[in-house]
């Protein structure tokens, strides 16, 4: 089991969309993929055709003591989806304090699923620092930091690096951090300049391509699906496929490092 946590210091960088589409790409490459939503917005499921009025999810299941298998959905593109679920405010706080007390909560819960060594779990997290991001980083083998080619994203990189250093880096089975630049429009000079700076700063941690800005991404969400499904011919879909390949290589290259497999 490989756990990939998708993080970002800033909101609105297209993190959930990226997580959903990468899950879809990896599933298309023949891997069993679980898309796991740790963001109370509960939006990841929308990319996989799960009805808007469905309230089931891992928050409710955890509080009720139910097994996660009861809230797993078969989403489009063959991805297994674990939604966050819809909870009232009090339950959410109870859930968060439960996670806060036990940062290893996610790792333990995933171990109980009994997945194969090659299976992939993609965890979507809320932006910035939170109990969700902490527990996700504590369980993850790889962190994927989503940034935009703008000044604010650039400035926020150290903040997320500190969190990763605190919760993930010390573990032997943590393979490292990767960066991907999302929503790129290279007809803007500023974008080009920031991209150059990011490439210098991040070196080979950065996905060599970019994910292009594409209206098809928003349209695909409106149609309850992933971009990979909605417009496979678009540049953004091509970028996502390339990113998926890069991500697979990065994650699989850690196979030999000592780690416990559930």
């Amino acid at each position: 089991m490989k756990v990939i946590t998708v993080v970002s210091a800033k909101g609105g960088v297209g993190k959930t969309t990226l997580a959903a589409n990468l899950a879809s790409v990896l599933a298309a490459r023949g891997r069993r993929v679980i898309a796991l939503d740790l963001d109370p917005q509960n939006a990841l499921r929308l990319h996989f055709g799960i009805p808007l009025d469905s309230i089931d999810g891992l928050s409710r299941a955890t509080l009720a003591g139910d097994a996660w298998q009861t809230v797993m959905f078969d989403g489009v593109d063959g991805v297994t989806v674990l939604p966050y679920g819809a909870v009232v405010e009090d339950d959410r706080r109870r859930f968060e304090s439960h996670i806060d007390r036990n940062p290893q909560w996610l790792a333990q819960a995933l171990d109980k699923l009994g997945l194969d060594a090659a299976d992939i779990v993609i965890v979507d997290t809320p932006p910035g620092s939170s109990v969700y991001t902490r527990t996700a980083l504590c369980a993850s083998n790889f962190a994927l930091n989503v940034v935009l080619a703008d000044a604010a994203s650039y400035a926020a990189i150290p903040q997320m690096e500190r969190m990763i250093d605190a919760y993930a880096t010390p573990r032997a089975n943590f393979a490292g951090t990767g960066y991907v630049v999302n929503q790129v429009d290279q007809s803007r000079q500023l974008t080009k300049d920031v991209l150059k700076v990011l490439r210098n700063l991040l070196g080979n941690k950065l996905f060599p391509g970019v994910i292009h800005l594409d209206e098809g991404v928003s349209e695909s969400l409106a149609c309850d699906t992933t971009l990979i499904h909605y417009d496979p011919l678009s540049q953004a879909a091509a970028d996502l496929r390339a990113c998926g390949e890069w991500l697979t290589n990065a994650v699989d290259s850690t196979q030999l490092s000592p780690r416990s497999v559930a």
Partner: protein, 736 residues
């Protein structure tokens, strides 16, 4: 003499085979041993050539030789080629010996005149065949050497782009590409040497940041232009590009490595590659299917020359070491082929030259056949001039191998008269009954056929990627009538004739037949046709004399072959319409289209030109005409976006025309297209490989097509003339 060079350069040697161990053994460095062995080989060959054989014996000898040649043809590797060359030399030697000793008995003065001409032409061909074998026996296939990792150790380079009267639009891409060359900015300096002294060039150069250099006179044309620039620059090396040869970004890094290893290296040449069809390719429809006229030289001859340290300088797409060029007094100005003469002078001082067969620059081919012919005339005259004023067979400093390579380089251009002789030889018999070869048809066949067949399969093996069989005949036949007079004049007096600059980048507005340029082939064609008719009549009259009929048949076959070769020449002169002023270059590379809706498409290009790109759409998509699109092209990590509109659309593909580009965008476009390091590397991919009979069939089909088209043109032009009384014959200048 050549062995150490070959061994030094061959990189990928794993475990040497027993043959290679034998070849590499130290015994070969003993001069006495090699001299004795050479003498022994020559003596043996002398006997093979001269021993008299009866008819059947010669027949058996010829069959056995050819069987061996066919057997070795199946083996791979250069040693098998050497065996085929040896067999070809043996058979050709026997033929020439027999031809010169047994068949040169003539009864009448007319026979003697024709016979002497024919036998001289054959001797010339045999010598050029042998020299060609020698020159290309072992192409060196040099690989590029990397520059040191530390960029501080890289030498300084001046890039020269000489121009005279070419429009700025033609020169711009070259300047942009020079700016895009991957090299430290403080070590490269780009100079546009403008002999036209044009203000728009000055303005453009200042805007993009390259040096605009002029002089007060235009003495010695391009060579003089470069020599003046040498005086005001100081880079350790010079890279020279004709103003329409667009370099790739990797040019300097690929080319300079050898200069740092070989301290005596004075010049490194790379191929002249053309991304537009030359007149042969355009008019015969052979673009990228059949190797063009220049490919033999840049693919094989130069690579063969490299083994003998005899690579010629070709004036463009080359690197030179400044100190050595200055030592010989700059680029040579005595002849109209300043480049070849410069290399000769460098060789005479003991410096080496090198060839890298990797296209690292590309340009436009000459547009019209008359322009193409004009250029070849210049080369032929220039080489003849060198032969006269600085003969490579004599004088100091050259090794035997170099002298022979230069000799072939020059003799090659004397093919005019022999080619004309071959095209008319059968007529002497068909018209006048001249017996030019004193032998029976059968005997001629058992001596001459093996000679031709061996030459054909051996050359086909050596040249398979660079010249298809029998195409040399076509190229030479087209040029023969034009090249003969200038080479003869230059041989008599090197000063005769003037320098002319080839015009490029024009357009041919409609199909037309160039009567002016094809007059010689038309005359030859008509003569051969009359000869053919005369032959038929002859057979009819002498039906009962079998020896007469046989000889006539032999000559009829020859004249038919000649007619078809001339038909192909005529086809080459039938100018096809060319409206496009910019040329499309086929190239597959990733491209992103972004539409006004914000949606994108990931596609591949099919081709590009200066004005836009052709894109293959995935699936059976279609894009509406006149739609505005942003086109993104990539170079490594970098992406460049260009505004464009849909100018052509069909299911699955779309033609995009760029809107007005800024200077910056023009530069970026050249960077992502023409200047790509891999822009020209897969050029001959997907070509049918050569086989002698396939080559022959193709040439014959083209020849028949040419004759057919000629009658069509005649008919159309005659009708036009009758109806309007003003023939629409467009004449191009054939000479300047």
């Amino acid at each position: 003499m050549s062995k150490p060079r070959a061994r030094l350069l061959s990189e990928a040697e794993e475990v040497p085979s027993r043959l290679e161990q034998f070849v590499d053994s130290r015994i070969w460095s003993s001069r006495i041993f090699t001299t004795l062995l050479t003498l022994f080989a020559l003596t043996t060959m002398y006997f093979v050539w001269t021993v008299p054989l009866a008819f059947t014996e010669q027949l058996v000898f010829a069959c056995v030789c050819f069987a061996f040649a066919l057997a070795f043809r199946r083996l791979r590797g250069q040693y098998a080629t050497l065996v085929m060359i040896m067999l070809s030399v043996a058979v050709t030697g026997r033929y020439m010996y027999w031809r010169l000793t047994e068949t040169t008995v003539w009864e009448r003065p007319l026979d003697a005149a024709w016979g002497l001409l024919l036998v001289s032409a054959e001797v010339y061909s045999a010598i050029v065949l042998m020299l060609g074998y020698f020159q290309t026996a072992w192409p060196l296939q040099r690989k590029p050497l990397p520059l040191p990792e530390n960029r501080d150790e890289w030498p300084t380079v001046d890039v020269f782009i000489p121009t005279y009267n070419e429009p700025l639009g033609v020169v711009k891409p070259t300047i942009y590409a020079a700016l895009a060359i991957d090299y430290p900015a403080d070590k490269i300096s780009i100079h546009v040497l403008d002999d036209g002294r044009r203000p728009e060039f000055k303005a453009f150069c200042e805007e993009v940041g390259v040096t605009w250099t002029i002089r007060t006179h235009n003495r010695h044309a391009k060579a003089g232009n470069i020599n003046e620039a040498l005086k005001i620059t100081k880079g350790e090396y010079l890279a020279i590009f004709d103003c329409d040869h667009i370099p790739t970004r990797s040019f300097l890094q690929i080319g300079l490595g050898w200069f740092l290893r070989d301290k005596k290296l004075s010049m490194l040449q790379t191929p002249h590659h053309f991304f537009s069809p030359d007149p042969f390719e355009r008019n015969l429809g052979t673009f990228r299917k059949v190797p063009n006229e220049g490919e033999l030289f840049y693919g094989l001859v130069q690579d063969g020359n490299d083994l003998w340290n005899a690579t010629f300088f070709c004036g463009s797409c080359a690197l030179l070491r400044r100190t050595m060029v200055e030592e010989i007094g700059g680029i040579a100005v005595e002849t109209v082929t300043e480049d070849a003469h410069t290399a000769l002078k460098l060789h005479r001082l003991g410096y080496t030259t090198a060839y890298l067969a990797i296209p690292q620059a590309a340009g436009l081919a000459t547009e019209s056949l008359s322009g193409h012919i004009g250029q070849r005339i210049r080369w032929a005259r220039g080489m003849t001039q060198i032969f006269r004023i600085d003969n490579p067979l004599t004088g100091k400093g050259l090794k035997l191998g170099q002298r022979l390579c230069y000799l072939n380089g020059m003799m090659h251009f004397f093919y005019g008269i022999p080619r004309l002789v071959f095209l008319t030889a059968p007529l002497s018999y068909l018209f006048f009954g001249a017996h030019v070869i004193h032998a029976a048809a059968g005997t001629i066949a058992i001596f001459a056929l093996p000679h031709m067949m061996h030459a054909s399969i051996t050359n086909s093996r050596m040249q398979r990627s660079f010249r298809h069989s029998f195409w040399a005949e076509v190229y030479e036949s087209v040029l023969a009538s034009y090249i003969t007079a200038p080479t003869l004049l230059a041989l008599i007096n090197p000063k005769l004739g003037k320098f002319n600059v080839t015009a490029k980048g024009g357009q041919i507005s409609k199909d037309y037949f160039d009567y002016a340029i094809s007059r010689p082939y038309l005359i030859l064609l008509v003569l051969n046709l009359l000869g053919f008719i005369a032959g038929i009549v002859n057979i009819y009259l002498h039906w009962d004399v079998s020896s007469e009929v046989n000889t006539v048949l032999l000559n009829l076959a020859w004249t038919t072959y000649n007619m078809l070769i001339l038909g192909a020449s005529v086809a080459a002169a039938s100018e096809r319409r060319q409206v496009r002023t910019t040329h499309r270059v086929e190239m597959k590379m990733p491209v992103m289209l972004k539409f006004s809706t914000g949606r994108t498409l990931a596609c591949e290009t099919m081709d590009y030109s200066e004005g836009g790109v052709g894109v293959k759409l995935p699936g059976d998509l279609e894009v509406p005409l006149h739609e505005k699109v942003t086109v993104s092209l990539f170079r490594g990590d970098e992406e460049y976006a260009f505004p464009a509109t849909v100018g052509f659309t069909a299911v699955g593909r779309v033609g995009l025309r760029f809107s007005a580009l800024t200077r910056e965008q023009e530069f970026e476009f050249v960077k992502t297209t023409f200047a790509r390091a891999d822009a020209w590397t897969n050029w001959s991919e997907g070509r049918t490989p050569d086989a002698p009979l396939r080559g022959l069939r193709h040439v014959l089909v083209v020849g028949m097509g040419g004759i057919g088209a000629l009658f069509e043109h005649l008919f159309v032009d005659a009708r036009n003339w009758l109806t309007t009384r003003s023939p629409d014959v467009k004449k191009l200048k054939t000479k300047d």
